[in-house]
Symmetry: C2
Subunit: 458 residues, 2 copies
């Protein structure tokens, strides 16, 4: 076993080395992300427009393009200490089986019961809701990781938690639902008869199994119609990227501790929460001209917002009740083909990441799910950890980069984000084992039809 | 949040603080555990008798009552570094919500894909099989944690792995099965038509959903009839306790690092692998008269081998092909009522632990599963981690001890073993949430009928 004796398998920061501030990458962007617009009027939305939907402090964070460092509240730091710092792992075994000169590290966010990085923002959002004296929060969940994370955070703080879970996930993933119930959350299959938007969708499409965009609309309506409730979201928003910067800050501190400078940083990308968090401090150095890194977003070929989408204002939800955001989008009406990476099936990409990609600060690639599961299984057998399908997009890209290094003989240092575990995704693994998994990529015509429905206020 | 600034939430050892030897508690026992006996002749079994079933080195470890410290092979140490040291966590949040003056620590073994401590012995056993030049190993699994752990270890070392999975688990836990398949194991529902013992059981009980004792018999037969294969077992054996001593050694090193001396050590007990591993170095000090600890084994009321069993020689499996062991037993024909702690449903208890209990070195209590799930949910909501039902037996006892401290005002230090996570046990949590979980305790008459069938060679 190749093992550099000065670098352990897992680099853990001590408690007093943990970051005490989140890093807001917008402060270092010359081209700021475009503002959110009102869905009906097209007018930029300010603090007063947004605080009916979101908690006050979270609106401030959403709109803050200037403050570089934002203190993490003590209660959030205390909660972080229950499952953080997460390890930065040197993938010695993977390097050895690949026979690559590359050095591979991964930041592993799966060692908490939510099974992913989502908890980093869930606790922050729940904390600000509690601080504001609210009764509870509503949200949607697709694959279930965000709903689980929010349930955990709310249980810890004594806050009500109402989750609209996309109906097909609710039925296919009963165990995810039970985890949320263990944490005291109420879980409703979406679309439901609880909301006007749900009833409308059910009357128009009686047999529908739901979608994330629809569940968002229901959760927003439920928050607006219940006193003392606000809506919270696990990705796409700038505030979420801010909270998730803890991933990158810890990773960078761990690397710095051993004098390691990465060449390539790789993250999977759905709405952008993990990618934006992982790359934040590295992107900051790049924006400030201090250092250069290759930064690669990896998205599913079935839902390729960065690689094949339009950079345009679009609706964030099916019901068109949420603000409009300027982002790389496949169109809010785009329905990705069946895929087992539920966390990467969102039609758009966070505005900050979209702007950075548009301005050439990062690359993006898309990969097919059979290739992703090949990488997932290979990784599980060599590194032990059973990865989530979402995370395995990054594994695929990291392996491909490491194999490229093998060809060229370069000993590049690769860091990728391993966002979570696949324990609730075994039905997908089963399909893969049985040779029943198919790849499905949207045609250009499908995308053109979807783009034609983009709002006309570009 | 109460937080002693000098003691972090999680105490991690660094790589160079990790133990390099396993600790063999038998070396410090005045009364050694009774030898294994041949199931047909009743004659004590030696090295040559056992090596047809087990790997050579593992037989040596099984029979070694004298060597106190046994070096951990470098390859096993390397593998340990992929997921160890496991954290010793200070349960600050649990203490706070319980309002107890007690200090509670738990050694958390769930942060690896097998989801439990089982991996500690799986990698050791697989390593010795590989060293011996074997092709593969066979085993049984009930709840699936051991089978998963062994699959991971075999995938890492390139060894075949054939798992006989109790049929009802195979059908009820398809995701566990898929995890094993991800690691390349072949998984057969037991009883099967693959073995003579399986065919016999199926012909006598056509509709049977299997049992652990039956799966053991099949796995032993499969190993004996395939050249280059040996049988491995995840609990009950002394070699397993030896490997699992890594849990207690790490826990003790972490406590020593901060000058913490526990008063009470609590572990859940099925076959004894976790309990024996956790308590090993503490028991060693107790046996040598260096320090006193209260050591508490917690078993399910539905399968109470220590608290209601007989200390007697008994068969280890249903097919009566395995050696006879002297242990606390409910009788090899005892079938515990349906319970959701599959890992604690074994009829007997490891011989070392049985002897220590018999000699008064530890206590034992039994708890009902509804009380266990109450504690599990309480723990999940306060400490975040979703515990396995098995582990939650220890949580129940730790909470009860902490509440007792609250009454008496004592600030005792409690350490318990949190052996694993409950991600594959959500069907049980669902029953609990829906109020459908029942407790079932064997009657004295049932136990007497079972004891009547104990072999007569006591």
């Amino acid at each position: 076993m190749k093992h550099e004796t000065n670098i352990p398998y897992k680099i853990y920061l001590s408690e007093n080395e943990m970051p005490r501030n989140w890093y807001n990458v917008r402060a270092d962007m010359k081209e700021k992300p475009a503002p959110l617009l009102h869905p009906a009027t097209g007018v930029p939305m300010g603090y007063d427009d947004l605080r009916n939907v979101f908690c006050d402090e979270l609106v401030r964070q959403e709109l803050d393009d200037d403050t570089r460092e934002i203190p993490i509240p003590q209660a959030v730091l205390d909660f972080y200490k229950m499952y953080r710092p997460s390890p930065l792992v040197r993938a010695y075994c993977l390097e050895e089986t690949l026979q690559t000169p590359a050095k591979i590290y991964y930041k592993f966010e799966g060692n908490n019961t939510s099974g992913s990085h989502k908890l980093n923002s869930a606790i922050a959002q729940a904390y600000y809701a509690k601080q504001q004296g609210l009764t509870g929060v509503t949200t949607e969940t697709g694959a279930g990781q965000w709903g689980t994370a929010l349930s955990m955070a709310c249980a810890y703080l004594g806050l009500d938690c109402k989750v609209y879970m996309v109906k097909c996930s609710y039925e296919q993933k009963p165990f995810r639902r039970e985890v949320m119930r263990t944490y005291g959350a109420s879980v409703t299959p979406s679309p439901s008869m609880d909301t006007a938007v749900g009833r409308k969708i059910l009357s128009e499409h009686p047999g529908t199994t739901g979608s994330l965009g629809c569940a968002i609309s229901e959760a927003v309506e439920a928050a607006a119609s219940a006193p003392g409730y606000r809506y919270v979201l696990g990705s796409v928003l700038n505030q979420v990227l801010l909270h998730q910067s803890i991933i990158g800050l810890e990773a960078k501190a761990a690397l710095d501790k051993y004098g390691i400078i990465p060449d390539i940083i790789i993250g999977c990308a759905g709405g952008g929460s993990n990618l934006g968090g992982l790359i934040a401090p590295f992107m900051g150095e790049k924006l400030r001209g201090l250092r250069d890194y290759r930064i690669i977003a990896v998205e599913p070929a079935s839902c390729p917002s960065l690689t094949r989408g339009r950079f345009a204002y679009d609706f964030c939800d099916t019901g068109k009740v949420c603000p409009l955001a300027k982002m790389y989008t496949l169109g809010s009406g785009f329905i990705p083909s069946s895929s087992h990476s539920g966390g990467l099936r969102y039609h758009g990409m966070n505005s900050v990441l979209s702007q950075l990609y548009h301005d050439g600060y990062m690359e993006a690639i898309s990969v097919e799910q059979t290739k992703v599961f090949e990488a997932a299984e290979y990784f599980a057998r060599t590194e032990g950890i059973l990865p989530a399908p979402e995370s395995s997009h990054a594994i695929r890209a990291a392996i491909d980069e490491a194999l490229h290094c093998k060809e060229t003989g370069e000993d590049k240092t690769i860091v990728f984000g391993l966002t979570g575990t696949g324990y609730f995704d075994m039905a997908a693994y089963e399909k893969f084992h049985n040779g029943e998994m198919r790849d499905s990529i949207p045609t250009d015509e499908e995308l053109e039809r979807s783009f034609a429905l983009l709002p006309s206020l570009q």
